[in-house]
């Protein structure tokens, strides 16, 4: 049986057009699925639905099953236990995802102590070990530092460590590198890839950049205006995109293959739809 089964998910806020509509997909244990789409396409709402973190005014129909638990029907108390234990999430903005008043190491340790049965002393050792594993060169110093004393890349790695410390079965990443420089992005992606491989965790990876997704995932969903418009392996989408929007994404992500001075291909019409709709 699959780790995550999403069937006919539909989420709407108020009387507006559903933010997510007719979305179905599965993720097997250890599998990595990418979700691509632009802002407002419903990819983040889908992730929040899986985490059980949707705002109270969301009207949800369809089903989300995570390791046999029906998320959509689960009371918040039980969901909170699953979160951090079975499924964790890495957010886009590394500054707001950390508590500015607490040293980074303690925040990572809290997550561990909340869910696992460990002594405080050994928790500290485990935190520093893991901070090293995500590629922080001076883990003891980072553990003692406050978020504002770290660079964006260091913060995002600390968040990665926080997400991985309880060895979850599913890690959800929402644009985890969008706020970072390309060089730092490359390092964080490489570490994420390594860490996922080492722990065997499955991953739901959300991004607007096909190139970034292709470095982590094998399978990809393309979302547009709340619906899945295309799905397949990275290789399939890259070599033979079917939907015009996917074609645009593939071309936009291949900036290196276009000679300078030439016009870049665009998906006109789809992209400049009036913002009032979204």
């Amino acid at each position: 049986m699959s780790l995550l089964v999403v069937r006919d998910l539909r989420v709407r806020f108020g009387r507006r057009r559903p933010a997510v509509d007719q979305v179905s997909f599965t993720i097997d244990g250890g599998e990595r699925l990418g979700v691509i789409g632009e802002s407002g396409s419903g990819k983040t709402v889908t992730a929040l639905a899986v985490m059980g973190l949707l705002a109270e005014n969301a009207v949800v129909s369809g089903s989300v099953e995570l390791a046999g638990h029906a998320i959509t029907a689960l009371p918040e108390r039980d969901m909170a236990r699953l979160r951090g234990d079975l499924v964790t999430m890495v957010f886009q903005e590394p500054m707001t995802a950390l508590d500015p008043t607490m040293p980074v190491g303690r925040q990572v340790a809290e997550t561990l102590l909340l869910h696992a049965d460990v002594e405080r002393g050994s928790a500290r050792a485990r935190v520093i070990e893991l901070l090293g594993e995500v590629g922080l060169s001076d883990p003891a110093r980072v553990a003692a530092a406050f978020p504002h004393q770290l660079s964006g890349g260091q913060r995002q790695r600390a968040i990665l460590a926080m997400a991985l410390i309880n060895a979850p079965q599913l890690v959800i990443c929402d644009e985890p590198t969008t706020a970072l420089d390309v060089t730092v992005q490359a390092q964080v992606l490489a570490k994420l890839d390594q860490a996922l491989t080492a722990s065997g965790a499955a991953c739901l990876f959300i991004s607007h950049d096909l190139a970034v997704v292709s470095q982590i995932c094998d399978r990809v969903l393309v979302m547009l205006e709340g619906r899945i418009v295309e799905r397949g392996t990275v290789a399939e989408l890259f070599s033979a995109p079917q939907h015009p929007y996917t074609r645009g994404l593939v071309e936009a992500a291949s900036l290196d293959r276009i000679e300078p001075g030439q016009r870049l291909p665009t998906v006109a019409g789809l992209l400049d739809a009036p913002a009032g709709e979204s």
Partner: protein, 270 residues
Amino acid sequence: MKRAQLVAGLVLVALIVITAVVSVFWTPFDPIRVVPSERLLPPGWPHVLGTDGFGIDILSRLMVGARTTLVVGIISVGLAVLIGVPLGMLAGQAGGWLDEVVMRAADVVYALPALLLAILLAAVFGASTVTAMVAIGVATIPAVARVARAGTKQVMAADFVLAARVAGTSRWGVAGRHVLPNIAPVIGVQASVGFALAILAEAALSYLGLGTPRPTPTWGNMLRDAQQYLFVMPIQTVWPGLAIALAVLGFNLLGDGLRDYLDPRLRELP
């Protein structure tokens, strides 16, 4: 829920404003003229809330008192906004030593109680509505200046201020076109809260005899008059007290409601 707060505040404030306006044209009885034969009547008819120790209709005095309260609030808060906002914007836009000087001066005024200022002014000029208004206004300046400065700092950090400078917009242009419109909402909230505090302060000053003197009715001096008959007719203290409480509640609700309504982070998802 948040909307309800704003609406409740608006209703209370509107009630006070309407009462004050009506009192200009009509009150049930003369709010000033002493009628010895009708002293200390209990609530009933035709004196709905009764009469005070001078035989004056309490409802009429309450209505005129609303007017005094509003005038004192508007003038003192207006004074605070007129002086505090430019000072705060100056400090926030200029930064450096000017910022230091303005804000330290604000701290000094902040440490000075409005009451002390009022006593000082009353001693020099004699207690009047004007001295009360000036004392309350000056005491409110630091709070307004601080909010204006914080808002200005925030706006100055936005890229559109850089863009305006690239476009050749002068400091005055940046202040008028970019800073002021963006800090106006927080100033409005602060003014509303300041209004509530001004009402309380005015009542306290009049009660102590440091504000508007008799025979002009204010809620504060009505409370003072009523105190003499606390054991004869305790109900008399209830009316001005209730009026003060409702007015303060109204402006506080309005301020909080405005804050939630204007802050997009607190706004519920549509």
